[in-house]
Amino acid sequence: MRRTVLAAVLVGLVVVASLGPWPPPSAPAQGVDVYINVTGGGSKKLNIAIPNFTVVSGADAAGHAKLLAAVAGNDLTVSGFFSVVAGVEPVPANNAEELQRRWSEFAAAGAHAAVHGLLAVRGERLEAEMRLYDLTSPGYRLIASKKFDAAAPQARRLAHRIADEIVLQFTGEPGIADTKIAYVGGRPGAKEIIVADYDGAGAVPATRNGSINLMPVWSPDARSIAFTSFMNGYPDLFRMFPFEPQRPVQTLAAFAGINSSPAWSPDGRFLALTLSMHGNPEIYVLTVATGKLERLTRHASIDTEPVWSPTGRQIAFVSDRAGQPRIHVMDADGTNVRQLTSSGFHTQPRWSPKGNIIVYTQRQGTHDLWAIDVSGANPRPLTAGPGDNQGASWAPDGRHLAFQSNRSGRWQLYVMLLDGSSLTQIPLGVSDATSPTWSPRLP
């Protein structure tokens, strides 16, 4: 792939307006295509304007036109690719002159792109159109447009899908706004699993059994969650279907001892888990459709917390066979066990969706997130306090991590990019939130 890095040429520019927070623009470089480096967080962002949507039909008494811009704007900010201005007055529809005038203002203020959002309210349905413009091109070329629709109560999801489409346009991979995060809410002794949008909105209890519910993990189809619960007295493993409230909870494993640490294989057919029915915590693989169990580890130490590689060929897990808990890797049939991390107290391995690194939790007084290459090279910290930072869960893009931290004095959930940038707390409105699990992109 041929690449050129353009040097900054800012000499002689005149700042015309200040509609945005962006640095002043330079002369457009024509005839080139944009690539965005999708692995890094980085400080170089694309400046994008999302005015409030323009109501083209129906009455928007609920204020969806503003909501769509605000929610999608926040999504683009969280994506880490954009510097966003949202919430400014809408751009009239069917008025090319006014469109050009507004875009020229944004371009003069430093915007590289703008979204013209159109909204039709038809009874209980919302129909939205996203038109994406290149403000660096002569005449502000239309890059792409797409229509979306949803029931009115799903307006936030509509905005997330628009944002994910915009990210797709600029990076070649959809965003991660149309996803859910499940987590554990409550204090020791009374913990329930809750499901919310990835940005914390719309939190709904997914368990209400008054027991202790732990370790939620989404299935790869984003339809079900495996979890450990004491609802029947002992730590057993269950599966629930949070979007099908009438569907009963399914028991996955209820053997003597602990039944915990569920991990779905990438194809959803298998579940790696920890069972101690033979007297010691060992890792097994359950064939979900048949209930067939295969034991993978046979060691007198604690073996727990299996996670699959994205190819399904390997499983990382925690074992204290080296004296302290460390991250180990084995083939999915239990062979070729190797120790990945050394000299430390390491738990909670989380294999990157990209496959190349494993994030884990290191205890050294307090807990912090670390990452290591799958080769075993380059262990490095992702967080360095404050407080404890643990329980990571990857977003499906392999760029974002959700995790729990008590830096505020209470356990709360946070999201950051892999390089630690774009750190934000997920507003959940509960006093204790732990064990986030990020869903795949919703179907």
Binding site: A8, D33, E127
Partner: protein
């Protein structure tokens, strides 16, 4: 990895954006006049209202037979009660071996259990809040198991004993200091008549 974007032209101040000289792929979406995708969003997950499919609808979900369940009968933990004669034992951080002072406690507990042979016993293994939930669930079980093994070595019948790990989920002390943590790293005893 660099992934191609749409044909947006870059501004030169965007140092971090890598650009290239030729277009290799057209924009992926349709023009403004394209018909709207007609498929409504999938089942609305955010809505708490029940969205159960109509009874006549084919089940959309994957087949989910309830597979592995335990043949072993397990007495319900809630049927067990604490008894003053059975004292807790405690553990060092990330350890599950029985310390000498706690062995004396277990000797006394074993004596009581042998005297009161009509009682079943439930041993709970607990951890402090440090560490992580998953690992602590395993560690708590190790503590309960080590405690059970000691009682068996002192002549208590193994078939009277059930163990359960609560990990770090049931602390008796909620402050963040070693004094409190050391109280939480415990083996606890409950009994019920046979």
């Amino acid at each position: 990895m660099l992934i191609r974007a749409g044909h947006l032209m870059v501004m030169s101040l965007l140092l971090g954006l890598i650009v290239t000289g030729c277009a290799k792929r057209p924009a992926t979406t349709s023009a403004a006049s394209a018909p709207a995708p007609s498929a409504p969003p999938a089942t609305s997950p955010a809505t708490p209202a029940p969205v159960a499919p109509a009874p006549s609808a084919p089940a959309p979900a994957p087949s989910t037979p309830a597979p592995a369940s335990a043949p072993a009968p397990r007495p319900a933990p809630k049927e067990f009660m604490a008894v003053a004669a059975l004292k807790d034992v405690y553990f060092d951080f990330d350890k599950y071996d029985i310390r000498p002072a706690d062995a004396k406690t277990l000797d006394a507990n074993a004596t009581w259990l042998k005297t009161n042979a009509d009682n079943l016993v439930l041993i709970e293994g607990h951890c402090d809040e440090r560490g992580t939930n998953e690992y602590n669930l395993a560690l708590g079980e190790r503590r309960a198991k080590a405690t059970m093994n000691y009682l068996v070595s002192q002549g208590v019948q193994a078939n009277r004993i059930t163990i359960i790990s609560y990990g770090e989920e049931r602390p008796v002390c909620n402050e963040k200091n070693e004094s409190c943590w050391s109280k939480n790293r415990r083996g606890h005893f409950l009994v019920k008549p046979r």
